[in-house]
Amino acid sequence: MTEDQNQLLESEAHPLDGFLREGRIPHIFCPGCSLGSITNVLIEAINESGIDPKKVAVVSGIGCTGRIAGYLNFDSFHTTHGRSIPFAIGLSVTDPERKVIVISGDGDLFAIGGNHFIHAARRNANITVVCVNNFNYGMTGGQAGPTTYVGQFQTTAPYGSLEEPFNIPNLAASCGAVYVARYTALDVRRVKEAFSEAIAKNGFSFVEVLGSCPTTYGRRNQLAEGKKILEFFAEKTVLNHDADTRDVQIDKNSPIIVGKFVDIEDKPTLTDNLLALQRVSQAKKG
């Protein structure tokens, strides 16, 4: 062990302390939940991006993942259920220099907030959206949601879910997102890399992270520990950057395809277009 590492172990401080709000820890996440690791790599990605922390705003909706904004020591906004994205658009267009990151759950972003997601992607809003997909509504006690796969057991699907889930990367790609990636919480290095790339992007960038929720998803689906869910991911995950997003649907028996599926350059953003409109409409000012 190096001297630096020794010092770190003896220190009462964490190297990322300044990025977390004093007095907000301990967090509310359950043992085995992956939101801690995801928060950790999100902070690292923001830190390494070199963006002035004053210019970073983080917005969440409601739910377990929705709590993340409130732990981060940036301008942070914990909004209403499903509404993080239009709030982020208001923040984003009022300062073209501002980097706005939305982090929220699958129910928040794709059930109650689904309409906002597709329209923000369509208009190429200059925001980064991270969805932590845990396949269920965790905070309210494990109900089925828009990402619950067929045959999955949840409190409102006691006989197994009947409905097809959203193929989220395909939804994002088909609505116009300029960056789309999916990884599992097991592979935090790739998650961090995806966060870094998404943050560096101009336009609507999207990362889906498949998370572990032992408490309300795992217990009902023979995966009652965080470790078991990560092992399940290790077993089932196939990395394929070239996958057609139409083929990355998640179901009970097929492999889970992860990778960077979309990375488009130079598509004008909503903010670019609004600024161009200001210039055009003022051209006759003389």
Binding site: R21, G23, R24, P53, K54, K55, A57, V59, G70, N73, F74, D75, S76, F77, H78, T79, T80, R83, I85, P86, F87, A88, I89, G90, L91, S92, V93, T94, D95, E97, R98, N115, H116, H119, L270, L274, L277, Q278, V280, S281, Q282, K284, K285
Partner: protein, 387 residues
């Protein structure tokens, strides 16, 4: 100044012949609104159209969102981005907005919502007048808060009260509703826009302490906390959860009591500053009409006709609907034999007037259920029956 150059100015000084909707939009621009988020709905759409035309010329932004929910939350985001922001809608759209008006109340976010009322419930009478959103603007969202709602009755006042709405929003830190109706929104009359130097502008209080010391929800003596916005280095923390002075969620009865009491009391204790009424021929009145919005115009006609017949009637016109001018109305109840309340709904303001008079006089609602304004004769007939 040429019309060509004037369109690049926030304040379109001069004489205009225009509609209530356009006048309200011009009022918003004159007081410095720089972001509009909205969704088309009759009879308010002309406001969005006018903002789409004018905002880019003034270095502002117009975003047509996917629905009214996105519109209200978008303007809350823009307000935290540091600009004055607004949306416009009608009853059904306002219904979709109320949850996030609640978020605006809880997070103390300045912004303005214009609601051009039409007949309801539901899709109702999209192209015809109504005054049926009185209680929706007060009680629409869950939880306790004191909204500010202003109600103009002329094109000129649409302009002036749009400015006031922004000023109250900035001063008291809350979403303020400007309540028009279809008749007012669509009718044209003279509008005089004063010189830019005559436009009174209020800006939100800014923190004087450093980011390290700053507590974003610690109020001053006036119960209003100074507002740091995103990008100023204060690392603001904003949540719709019950929060302490740091802005941190703190879910207990004590913090809830302190916070909810304060966001109500900051308005209740300033009712004198906020409540505006117009009094017409009330000094010697034996009967009174209480009215608001476009109906107050025909109510004034009824007063004039009654006076010609020797009946001593006066008019109290409510310009501020919420907070409700209950003290003025109680005083009036001690003076007059009867109060008439013509309104285009089934008794919303009438109920509030009844509550205010404490049985000291008789209150008679004159209701139209939507679609048309009262004819002065209809109001006069009621009074003549009693005089």
């Amino acid at each position: 100044m040429s019309k060509q150059k004037q369109k690049f100015l926030e304040v379109s000084t001069g004489e205009h012949f225009t509609t209530g909707n356009h006048a309200a939009a011009e009022g918003a621009l004159a007081v410095g609104c720089k972001f509009f988020g909205g969704y088309p709905i009759t009879p308010s759409s002309e406001i969005a159209e006018h903002m789409a035309l004018r905002l880019p010329q003034l270095g502002g932004n117009f975003v047509q969102f996917e629905d009214e929910i996105a519109s209200i939350i978008g303007i809350l985001g823009a307000s935290w981005g540091g600009v004055k922001s607004m949306t416009a809608t009608s009853g059904p759209g306002y219904s979709l907005m109320v949850e996030n008006i609640g978020l605006g109340m809880m997070t103390e976010t300045p912004c303005v919502i214009i609601n051009v009322q039409r007949g309801g419930p539901s899709t109702g009478l999209p192209t015809l007048v109504g005054q049926q959103d009185i209680m929706q603007t007060k009680w629409g969202a869950h939880g306790d808060f004191e909204p500010i709602v202003l109600c103009p009755n002329s094109v000129q006042e649409c302009f002036e009260l749009a400015i006031e709405a922004f000023n109250y929003a900035e001063k008291y830190r809350l979403p303020v509703t400007l309540l028009l109706d279809e008749t007012l929104g669509h009718m044209s009359e003279r509008l005089i826009i004063p010189d830019a130097s005559k436009i009174g502008k209020v800006e939100r209080k800014k923190p004087k302490d450093s980011p390290e010391e700053h507590l974003p929800y610690k109020p001053d003596d006036d119960l209003i906390p100074p507002m740091a916005v995103a990008g100023e280095g204060y690392r603001v923390m904003v949540t719709g959860l019950t929060h302490d002075e740091r802005g941190y969620p703190d879910l207990n009865t004590k913090t809830q009591d302190k916070l909810v009491r304060r966001i109500n009391d900051k308005i209740r204790l300033n009712k004198k500053d906020i409540i505006k009424v117009e009094e017409y021929m009330l000094d010697d009145a034996e009967f009174a009409i209480i009215s608001f919005g476009s109906v107050a115009r025909t109510a004034k006609g009824a007063v004039n006709r009654a006076r010609k017949k020797g009946i001593k009637v006066g008019l109290l016109r409510l310009i501020t609907i919420w907070p409700f001018p209950n003290e003025r109305i109680e005083a009036l109840a001690e003076q007059v034999k009867k109060i008439y309340v013509p309104e285009i709904n089934y008794g919303q303001i009438t109920r509030e007037v009844e509550r205010s008079v404490h049985g000291k006089t008789e209150v008679k609602g004159i209701f139209k259920l939507g679609g048309a304004i009262h004819n002065p004769q209809e109001i006069l007939k009621e009074i003549e029956g009693d005089a």
